[in-house]
């Protein structure tokens, strides 16, 4: 069980949205983690510095929050490590071909009413719901 956190989730979601708006306003870029990371893999894109800075900021953020406040950041990875690694490979392959993930398609693309992003988001959400149902309720796993 995880606790239902509508207020914290809404607030956190709004911050994600704020970062998407700011990155578009200042850099003219979609705040999609897939696209940003892709440009950091060799051969790195020529504009790798802003990408690296964005990623670094995203990694440092929880460290700062834990350092300056009493806020707890919940974390639990209930899945065995081999499956975590397998899912990383699957997710990496998937988001490369779909050109985006939850942030790029689900937030930025949907917000600008992109039909591609709407189709992508509907597809990966349904696939995730089905996968969890199959693993937890048909196979009895994790």
């Amino acid at each position: 069980m995880t606790e239902f956190t509508p207020v914290a989730s809404l607030f956190g979601g709004a911050l994600i949205g704020l970062s998407a708006v700011l990155l578009m306003a200042f850099h003219g870029r979609i705040a999609g983690m897939t696209g940003i990371l892709s440009g950091l893999l060799p051969p790195m894109s020529s504009d790798w510095t802003w990408r690296a800075a964005f990623v670094a900021g995203a990694i440092v953020a929880p460290i700062l929050i834990l350092g300056v406040s009493e806020t707890a950041i919940g974390y639990d990875s209930p899945v065995p490590m081999p499956w975590v690694i397998a899912s990383g490979l699957i997710v990496g392959g998937g988001v490369y071909f779909s050109s985006g993930c939850t942030s790029g398609h689900g937030v930025c693309g949907m917000a600008r009413l992109s039909l591609r992003s709407l189709a992508a988001t509907a597809t990966f959400m349904v696939a995730a719901f089905l996968t969890v149902f199959v693993i937890r309720h048909l196979l009895g796993g994790f």
């Binding site: 607030f11 850099h27 995203a58 392959g93």
Partner: protein
């Protein structure tokens, strides 16, 4: 320099949003997808909050001629609902449903120092790299952004 600095600060906002919203917590993500079990609807509020702010903000930002620090907006132009988009999305959804990690959720989780998050991100980068190598080997044009 200014571009890099601002990107870092915007990344901080993104990471804070992910961490505070619960998106960095794989157990919470998996419970969102577990309608028939320990359902936790929180992530609907994450998506709702993010979409609302982005949709309103983009309306104002994209009316401008260009972004503050760049010569032009870099927006995806493809309109095709093709196999890479839908097949890739389906594959991503399966992987997301297995572990509860997605790229945007996993990167800030690295800051928590959790081994599972680092393992996921390492494998994910290998997956992106492998997929790109395959596409290059097939001689197709690579697309990079959403």
């Amino acid at each position: 320099m200014q571009r890099t600095l601002f990107a870092g600060m915007i990344g901080l906002v993104f990471g804070a949003g992910i961490a505070l919203s619960g998106m960095a917590n794989p157990a919470k993500v998996l419970n969102f997808f577990d309608l028939a079990g320990t359902w936790d609807p929180s992530l609907a509020f994450v998506m709702g909050g993010a979409l609302l702010v982005t949709a309103i903000g983009y309306r104002f930002v994209l009316k401008r001629d260009k972004p503050v620090l760049e010569a032009r907006f870099h927006l995806p132009t493809s309109r095709k609902l093709d196999l890479p988009l839908l097949g890739g999305s389906a594959v991503f959804g399966v992987g997301w449903g297995i572990s509860g990690f997605c790229p945007g959720g996993a990167i800030p989780a690295l800051g928590l120092g959790e081994v599972s998050a680092w393992a996921f991100v390492g494998a994910m980068l290998a997956g992106i790299f492998a997929a790109r190598s395959i596409r290059f080997a097939l001689g197709q044009r690579a697309t990079q952004n959403a």
